[in-house]
C-alpha cells in the first residue's frame, strides 16, 4: 500500500507517494524525475546515487523513500545556483575530471559533503573522503585534482 | 585509387596459421593481385574454404600497416603482404 511522504528536496517542498519498501533512489528517479542520482549497484558499494540527507552523505539506494518524511535532501540537481555552477562542477569540467560521467553526480555530492565539513582537506583526506565512490574511467587522478582546485577556490585562496 | 589489372604485381602472400591448411600447409603463396579485392577473389577461387575465412573477417597487413575493410586498397610492388585474423577491440 502506497504511503504519502512530505519532504524537502533542494530547498523545495515535495510531496510524493511510494511503496513502503521502495528505495529513495527509485523514488527520486522514477517518481520525481530526478535522474541525476544513478544506480550503479543498488547495494551501497559504488556511491553513484549519493545524496546529502539532513547534512549527512548517504547512498540513496540504502534509504527507504518513506524515511524521508520531514527530512531535508540535497541532490546533484540542486548543486548549481541558478545558471552559476558550483565551484566543484566548474572544476570538474575545467579539469577533465570526468570521462563517461556516470559517477560524476555521486562524486560531486561526496566532494561537497567533504568540503562542507573540511574546507582544506589533504590529498589523503580527499582520497578517503571519496573512497565510497567508484570511477572506472579516470584512475581518480583528475578527480582529486579538481576537488583540490575547488577547495582552494572556495576558500578564496 | 582503384587499380587496373596492369598494375598488379606478383606477391608472396603470407598466411597466418589458420589459413595454411587450406593451401596445403605452406606459410606463403605466390599470387598476382593489384588490390585486396583481387587478392581475396583469387584466394576464394583457387582455395576451397578460403571464402568462409574471408567472410568471417581477414585483415591484410601491407608493409606492417593493417587494413581491415577497404577492397580497393592497392598492393604496391614489393610490399610485404600478410593475412591476419581480424582483431576486436575494447
Amino acid at each position: 500500500m502506497s504511503v504519502k511522504v512530505s519532504t524537502t528536496i533542494n530547498g523545495d517542498a515535495v510531496d510524493f507517494v511510494c511503496q513502503p519498501d521502495e528505495p529513495l533512489l527509485d523514488v527520486l528517479r522514477n517518481r520525481l524525475g530526478l535522474t541525476g542520482a544513478k544506480e550503479g549497484c543498488g547495494t551501497g558499494d559504488c556511491g553513484a546515487c549519493s545524496v546529502i540527507l539532513d547534512g549527512r552523505l548517504v547512498c540513496s539506494c540504502l534509504v527507504l523513500g518513506v524515511e524521508m518524511e520531514g527530512k531535508k535532501l540535497e541532490t546533484v540537481e540542486g548543486l548549481a545556483d541558478g545558471p552559476k555552477l558550483h565551484p566543484l562542477q566548474q572544476q570538474f569540467i575545467d579539469g577533465a575530471a570526468l570521462q563517461c560521467g556516470i559517477c560524476t553526480p555521486g562524486f560531486l555530492i561526496a566532494a561537497k559533503a567533504l568540503l562542507d565539513k573540511n574546507p582544506d582537506p589533504s590529498e589523503e583526506e580527499i582520497r578517503f573522503g571519496l573512497a565510497g565512490n567508484l570511477c572506472r574511467c579516470t584512475g581518480y587522478d583528475k578527480i582529486v585534482r579538481a576537488v583540490q582546485a575547488a577547495a582552494k577556490e572556495m576558500r578564496g585562496a | 585509387m582503384t587499380a587496373s589489372l596492369d598494375t598488379s604485381h606478383l606477391h608472396d602472400v603470407h598466411l597466418w596459421g589458420a589459413l595454411r591448411p587450406l593451401v596445403g600447409g605452406a606459410t606463403s603463396i605466390p599470387m598476382r593481385a593489384a588490390t585486396i579485392r583481387e587478392l581475396f577473389r583469387k584466394l576464394s577461387d583457387e582455395y576451397p574454404g578460403m571464402e568462409a575465412h574471408i567472410k568471417r573477417g581477414v585483415a591484410v597487413s601491407i608493409d606492417g600497416k593493417i587494413y581491415r575493410d577497404q577492397w580497393d586498397t592497392v598492393l604496391p610492388a614489393g610490399a610485404e603482404i600478410y593475412l591476419m585474423p581480424r582483431v576486436p577491440g575494447g
Partner: protein, 752 residues
C-alpha cells in the same frame, strides 16, 4: 574527391588545447541522459530470469502461472526468438547467449523474461516461472576444460586449426600458431633458459553504468531502441537480424554511455527487451542489476600460460616460446589467439613461437576488455623478460631496449613493422625521474611494456553549416570520454574557426550511415579523419559559394583562417567572406551548406607503451600498495591532451585493479560468488597515487593530424610492471594474477 589521409605538417591553432567538453554541464548537473534515464509513456518493466546452474539441460519451462498474474503483459522464452540466423555460427551464438535454448550454459544465462506494469509485479512473475532443469556436470577452469573427458559444453565444436579436423567434439575450439625462426635451435644457443607458468583470473570491465535500454516495437515492425552501447549501428544490425526486423525500421539511439571498455560492444538483453515489447505492444524498459552485469555480460578470459625465454649473457634473446590457453566463456572464439599474436610483439626476436589453445567453459561469453587478451599475455612475457634480465644481471630497461622491435623488425605475429614507438617509450622511461628516484623500505620498482594493434573501420560524419554560420557535426562513434570535444577541435582546426563555433552530437542510426563499433581505440582516430574529410568538403562548397557571391571563378577563391579570400591582384578590394556571411547567402547560392564523409579509416598503426611502478609490500600480510606510477605512451598527436592523459590513467588504474585484486571467483557448484562491487574489488580512490603520464607525439603518417588511437594500450603493461615491482620489493616472483595478499603472503612464506 577521396580523402587524402596523409599527414599535414602544420602549426595547430586549436588541436592540442584543453577546451571544455560540450557535454560537461549536462554531466555535472545530472541532466545527461544515460541508458536508464529514459522513460516512455505506458512503459513496462522488463526483467530476466537467469539460470542458477552452471550447466543444465532445460527440460521444461512453464510460464502459464506468470502469464496469468495481473499486470504481466508478456513472458518470453527461447520459443519467442526463433533461430533466423541461417547457419551463421557467430550470430547463432549471440542469439543463444541472449536466451538459453536447450541448455543453460553458465550461472546467469537467461532462460526467460517478463514485462509487467511495474518492477514489483515483474519480480513476482519471475518467481512463478517454473523450470525443470537436468543439472549437468560443469567445468569453469580452462586447463580442466581442455582435458579429455571434461564435461562437454557443445556437441558441435571440432577443434579449428588441427588437420585433419577431429571427428570428436571437445571444448578445445581453436589451435593457432604464430612466429618465425627455429626456437629449438635458438634455445640451444642460450646461456640461460628461463621457463615459467602463469595463471590469470577472469576480470570484468566494471563500467559503473549497468546495461539499460528502452525498447518500443510496433506491430508494423517499426521499432525504437534507446540504449547504452559502444555501437548503435552494430546493435541495430544484430537486433534486427535476430528479431527479423528491417534494419531501416529499427532506430537505435545511443544514450550517454557510462563506461564500456569493450563490454558494450555486444548485445546482451537488448533483443529480449525488443521481443518483450513486440509481444506486449508496449514500450519496455530493461535495466540490468549489478549482479546480472557480472554474471551475464562479457568479462575477459581467464588464462593459463607457459613461457620460455632463452638469453645470452650479452642480453640477446636467442629464442622465445609461449603456449597460451584462454577460456572464451560458453561460446567459441579466439581470445587465446589474440594473446598469441600480441605476446612478444614488443620485441625483435630471431626465433619466436606462440601456440594458442582456445577453450569453452561454463562461464559467461567473453567479450573484449580494453586491448583484449593482450594484458594477460604481457603479464607472462614481461615477468619472464624481467627474470631473464636478472639472470644475466642486466638493467631491465636496457635489456628491453636491446631486444626492442623497431622499423623493419619482423613482428612475432608475422608482418614487418613500419616506424613504431616502443623504442622511444623505453628511452623516455630510462630518462624519467621516476626510474631513478630513491625507494623506501619494503618497496620495489618494476617496469613493463605493452602492445596493442588499434584499428579504424567504417565511419561517417555529417557536417552542417547553420544559417548563422555556426557548425553542427553528427558523429557515428559514441562519446565515452570527451570525443565530442576532440571532434569539434578537428573540425574547428580544419575550418579555421573557434572551437566554440562547432557543436558535435552523436547521431542515431536513422540519421547517419553505418559506423563500426567504437572499439579498438578507433573513435578519435576514425571520426577525426572523417571529420576532417567532411570539413574539407564543406570548405570546398563554401569556396564555390563565395565564388558565386563574388561572381568570380572558383580557383580564385582560397580558404584561409576560416574565411574565403579572393586571390589575385584584381580582387584586392574584396573583403574576405566569413562562414557567417557565406551562410547568410546560402539560399541564393545553392542551398544548405554541408560536408559529408563516409570512409573506411585504415592505417591506425600499432601502439606501444612503457610503464614504471613502485610497489610497497607488507611482508607480514602480503598486502601491496602502489606508491608511484608512470605511463609513457605515444599518442601520435594528442588532440585534447587532458583526455589522452585520462585514457592513460584510466587504463593504468584498471590494470592495477586486475593485477592486485580483481577476479571472478567461482564456487565448486559453478556459481559466481562475487557478483558485486563489494567483493569484486575495483580500485577505490584511496588505493591509488596520482598517475603520472608522459605523452609522446610521434605523428601517425596515415592521419591528417598524425593521430593514433590511445584508448587501450595503457591496460597492457600494468600486470607485468606490478609483478616485477613486487618481485623487487619482496623478493618473490608471483605467477598468479591477481597478486592478492593471500597469494603474495604465501609466496613470501614459501620462500622463507
Amino acid at each position: 574527391m577521396p580523402l587524402d589521409t596523409s599527414l599535414v605538417r602544420k602549426q595547430f591553432k586549436v588541436i592540442g588545447t584543453r577546451v571544455r567538453r560540450p557535454d560537461g554541464i549536462d554531466k555535472v548537473t545530472g541532466r545527461a541522459k544515460y541508458g536508464a534515464d529514459a522513460f516512455a509513456p505506458g512503459q513496462l518493466i522488463g526483467l530476466v530470469l537467469r539460470s542458477p546452474h552452471a550447466h543444465a539441460r532445460i527440460k521444461k519451462i512453464d510460464i502459464s502461472k506468470a502469464e496469468k498474474l495481473q499486470g504481466v503483459k508478456a513472458v518470453i522464452t527461447a520459443a519467442d526468438l526463433p533461430d533466423l540466423t541461417g547457419g551463421d555460427r557467430g550470430m547463432r551464438d549471440i542469439l543463444e547467449n541472449c536466451m538459453a535454448r536447450s541448455k543453460a550454459l553458465y550461472d546467469g544465462h537467461a532462460v526467460a523474461a517478463v514485462a509487467a506494469v511495474d518492477a514489483h509485479t515483474a519480480k513476482q512473475a519471475l518467481k512463478l516461472i517454473k523450470i525443470d532443469y537436468e543439472v549437468l556436470p560443469h567445468v569453469t577452469d580452462v586447463d580442466e576444460a581442455l582435458k579429455p573427458g571434461a564435461p562437454l559444453i557443445h556437441d558441435d565444436i571440432f577443434t579449428d586449426g588441427i588437420e585433419p579436423k577431429p571427428t570428436k567434439p571437445s571444448n578445445f575450439c581453436k589451435l593457432a600458431e604464430y612466429g618465425h625462426g627455429d626456437v629449438e635451435a635458438g634455445f640451444k644457443e642460450a646461456d640461460f633458459v628461463i621457463e615459467k607458468s602463469y595463471k590469470t583470473e577472469q576480470t570484468h570491465q566494471g563500467y559503473i553504468e549497468p546495461h539499460a535500454c528502452l525498447a518500443n516495437v510496433s506491430p508494423d515492425g517499426v521499432a525504437e531502441l534507446w540504449v547504452t552501447t559502444q555501437g548503435p549501428f552494430v546493435y541495430r544490425n544484430h537486433c534486427a537480424a535476430l528479431l527479423g526486423l528491417d534494419a531501416n525500421k529499427l532506430r537505435v539511439t545511443a544514450s550517454e554511455i557510462g563506461g564500456g571498455f569493450g563490454g558494450k560492444t555486444h548485445v546482451w538483453a537488448e533483443p529480449l527487451a525488443l521481443a518483450l515489447s513486440r509481444k506486449a505492444n508496449r514500450p519496455v524498459k530493461l535495466t540490468m542489476t549489478r549482479d546480472e552485469v557480472f554474471r551475464a555480460t562479457g568479462p575477459t578470459s581467464s588464462a593459463s600460460i607457459d613461457v620460455k625465454v632463452g638469453v645470452k649473457k650479452d642480453g640477446t634473446v636467442t629464442a622465445a616460446f609461449a603456449e597460451l590457453r584462454y577460456q572464451n566463456g560458453a561460446f567459441p572464439f579466439t581470445w587465446a589467439e589474440f594473446g598469441a599474436m600480441t605476446a612478444f610483439a614488443c620485441y625483435d626476436f630471431k626465433n619466436v613461437k606462440t601456440v594458442s589453445r582456445d577453450a569453452v567453459v561454463n562461464r559467461p561469453k567473453c567479450a573484449a576488455y580494453r586491448a583484449p587478451s593482450a594484458p594477460i599475455a604481457a603479464f607472462a612475457v614481461e615477468s619472464t623478460m624481467d627474470m631473464a634480465a636478472k639472470a644475466i644481471g642486466m638493467d631491465p630497461i636496457d635489456f628491453r631496449i636491446k631486444n626492442a622491435a623497431r622499423e623493419g623488425t619482423k613482428s612475432s605475429y608475422g608482418p614487418v613493422f613500419g616506424p613504431i614507438g616502443i623504442g622511444p617509450t623505453l628511452e623516455a622511461a630510462k630518462k624519467h625521474a621516476h626510474w631513478n628516484a630513491p625507494l623506501g623500505e619494503n618497496q620495489g620498482r618494476g617496469m613493463a611494456c605493452g602492445f596493442w594493434f588499434n584499428f579504424g573501420g567504417q565511419t561517417c560524419v555529417d557536417l552542417n553549416v547553420t544559417p548563422d554560420g555556426s557548425v553542427t557535426v553528427a558523429l557515428g562513434t559514441i562519446d565515452v570520454g570527451g570525443s565530442r570535444a576532440s571532434m569539434a577541435l578537428a573540425v574547428a582546426e580544419e575550418l579555421g574557426v573557434a572551437y566554440e563555433q562547432v557543436r558535435c552530437v552523436v547521431a542515431d542510426t536513422s540519421s547517419l550511415g553505418h559506423n563500426d563499433m567504437t572499439d579498438g581505440s578507433r573513435g578519435t582516430f576514425s571520426s577525426s579523419m572523417a571529420a576532417v574529410d567532411a570539413a574539407r568538403k564543406a570548405i570546398h562548397t563554401m569556396r564555390e559559394r563565395a565564388a558565386k557571391i563574388w561572381e568570380i571563378p572558383l580557383d580564385e577563391v582560397e580558404w584561409i583562417d576560416g574565411q574565403a579570400k579572393a586571390v589575385g591582384e584584381k580582387h584586392g578590394n574584396k573583403a574576405p567572406l566569413s562562414i557567417k556571411e557565406i551562410a547568410a547567402q546560402a539560399a541564393n547560392t545553392g542551398g544548405p551548406i554541408a560536408g559529408h564523409s563516409e570512409i573506411v579509416a585504415d592505417g591506425a598503426g600499432v601502439s606501444f607503451a612503457t610503464h614504471i611502478c613502485d610497489a610497497e609490500v607488507d611482508p607480514e600480510t602480503g598486502r601491496t600498495s602502489i606508491k608511484r606510477y608512470t605511463v609513457i605512451q605515444d599518442a601520435g598527436k594528442a588532440m585534447h591532451p587532458s583526455y589522452v592523459e585520462g585514457q592513460y590513467q584510466g587504463g593504468a588504474a584498471q590494470g592495477i585493479g586486475w593485477a592486485l585484486n580483481e577476479e571472478y571467483i567461482y564456487g565448486k557448484d559453478g556459481r559466481l560468488q562475487n557478483a558485486g562491487f563489494l567483493d569484486y574489488r575495483i580500485p577505490v580512490c584511496s588505493d591509488l597515487p596520482f598517475i603520472d603520464t608522459q605523452i609522446l607525439e610521434i605523428p601517425n603518417p596515415n592521419h591528417p593530424y598524425g593521430v593514433r588511437g590511445v584508448g587501450e594500450t595503457s591496460i597492457v603493461p600494468p600486470l607485468g610492471a606490478i609483478g616485477n615491482a613486487i618481485s623487487n620489493a619482496a623478493g618473490v616472483r608471483l605467477n598468479h594474477v591477481p597478486m592478492s595478499p593471500p597469494r603474495v603472503l604465501k609466496a613470501i612464506k614459501d620462500a622463507r
